[in-house]
Point group: C2
Chain length 321, copies 2
């Protein structure tokens, strides 16, 4: 007799074309392509920390996978497989059905097969491991930037954080603006094609999950560098420009998390190539500054030469704020 | 400035000899051995479901990895890498220090490198993904058993469940017995050497996590078979024999979870070879019955020919009991 548990588990058992053996045994069996390296990453999403209570489950299913795929994108890897573990307060079939729809829809877009995981009762918690492949030596590591490299960002940052501020009642955005920002927060698009195309082109990369300056700081720390960022070059979406609270908008731009854009460094000789890749993929890519000597120091300057001193650079789950 | 979060994270950042790139970037980079298949598995442990509140963190660190390694053992894979995601109610450094000691001590025993994961605030929840390797075609899948195969079990089952019953106050065991059973519950030993040696010898395998009969049922279902199990052949530890409640002891033997022994099937021609492997490794291996035609039907008989009807076969997180 099938228990509720079996029933729920069935939503996550789909045929995995790319696996020797998918969900249903003690382990999945995978055959990596000859000579390829594996890129692996795990992220955990907890209700109240990474998403608000009551978040639409279909969107949450998308986001749970998206934030993990974004790590593969930031490494320049091709996404292949995922494992999903869920703790759920109750075996709520309609919630699970919607969640799995969101999850598998994104998985299909990028040819990712779910090959394993776990389902249990507990406070809502989602843990994903993704596995990608890439040719050895071409990974976009954080420690590869060099002094003089251009610093680039894809798309634009800040809208996700603005959407969160709206949902939390810290600001009241007009409906259309709010909808766009909440979409950015809840349905982020991992930049997998861009990451893959930047292999052998960019010198270092990271995805913007903590905030533009915080994540830039991670790259610079790993690469033993500093950076000079020109505030006016950082792309601002229409939503950020229309935001009635200019200070909040700037904070979101520089320190808002959950954007899942790629921040990357590349030799200036690669400039035109990167512009062409962005144009071909239909993804905005913008040079926002330069890597310089001086470990971890990021200076953000305005066009008039004055320095911006952001009150915070990113998000830390254990910090009190 | 390091936040509490960074501080905690440092406990899980150790050099990973076997990885091209370990913890600290968007992804770890791994180079599988040429021609090997990967075995991957994820398990999630939630406080109150998989371990009791207040469980010693060092033991919990061991168990969190052990239950995952047990899945690799059941597949006959060699353990290589792990990823660990933790949600913690607070950044409790002494708890984390003890947990990581237990985790890394077991990891070292089996040459497993921690290559990634996540740390966040939330209700205590532990998610591990393990990655192993094995030669293609030799995995101990659940669906490989054949009618006439012997059914074997390693070690003995039931002590872990008896330990849990003691901790829950459902039975009061003498101190020495209780200590042994609680050790089995909290510090299970994954049967990785045995699993590896059974590659090419056993026809199917599973680890006993849900209960002997429940896990046997999974193998039989996958292999389209039934089984005849001889109750008196199932190894009973001294603890089970000394248990003052005979009915509970039998329930633990047949349906107690958390044993992490290997249950496997093998052609009867392999009998002596399996006995020799067990002797060489110092692991008891016992033939407890035979796989027969008849999908999913498990008959457990006593020496006098009567049939045992267990009240339950295993543990289901979503079942009400």
């Amino acid at each position: 007799m099938a228990s509720e548990f079996d029933l729920i588990r069935r939503y996550f058992t789909r045929h995995a074309d790319s696996a020797v053996l998918g969900v249903g045994d003690d382990c999945a069996l995978l055959q990596p392509r000859p000579g390829m390296q594996l890129a692996v990453s795990s992220d955990m999403l907890v209700e109240g920390q990474h998403f608000l209570r009551g978040t639409d489950p279909r969107r949450l299913g998308h986001k749970t996978l998206a934030v993990n795929l974004s790590d593969l994108a930031a490494m320049g890897a091709d996404a292949r497989w995922a494992l999903l573990s869920i703790a759920l307060p109750a075996a709520d079939e309609s919630w699970i059905a919607a969640f799995s729809t969101g999850f598998f829809s994104l998985a299909q877009t990028f040819g990712v097969d779910l090959v394993g995981g776990d389902t249990t009762r507990g406070p809502l918690c989602l843990a994903v491991t993704v596995i990608g492949e890439l040719p050895g030596g071409l990974a976009l590591r954080r420690d590869g930037a060099r002094a003089g490299d251009d610093i680039w960002v894809s798309g634009s940052t800040g809208e996700a954080a603005l959407g969160l501020a709206h949902l939390q009642g810290r600001i009241r955005l007009p409906d259309e603006l709010a909808a766009r920002c909440i979409d950015r927060l809840e349905v982020p698009q991992p930049r997998l094609e861009l990451g893959g195309r930047l292999r052998g082109v960019a010198s270092a990369a990271i995805d913007v999950s903590d905030g533009l300056l915080a994540d830039l700081g991670h790259v610079l720390e790993a690469s033993d560098l500093g950076a000079l960022i020109e505030l006016e070059r950082i792309p601002r979406s229409g939503a950020l420009n229309s935001c009635p609270d200019g200070e909040l908008a700037e904070q979101c731009l520089l320190a808002g998390g959950d954007d899942y854009e790629l921040l990357f460094a590349a030799a200036s000789s690669r400039h035109d190539e990167i512009v062409a890749i962005g144009a071909e993929l239909g993804v905005a890519v913008t040079r926002i500054g330069t890597a310089v000597d001086g470990v971890g120091k990021v200076r953000v300057i305005r066009a008039d030469g004055t320095t911006v001193s952001p009150s915070r650079t990113g998000f830390d789950h254990f910090s009190v704020d």
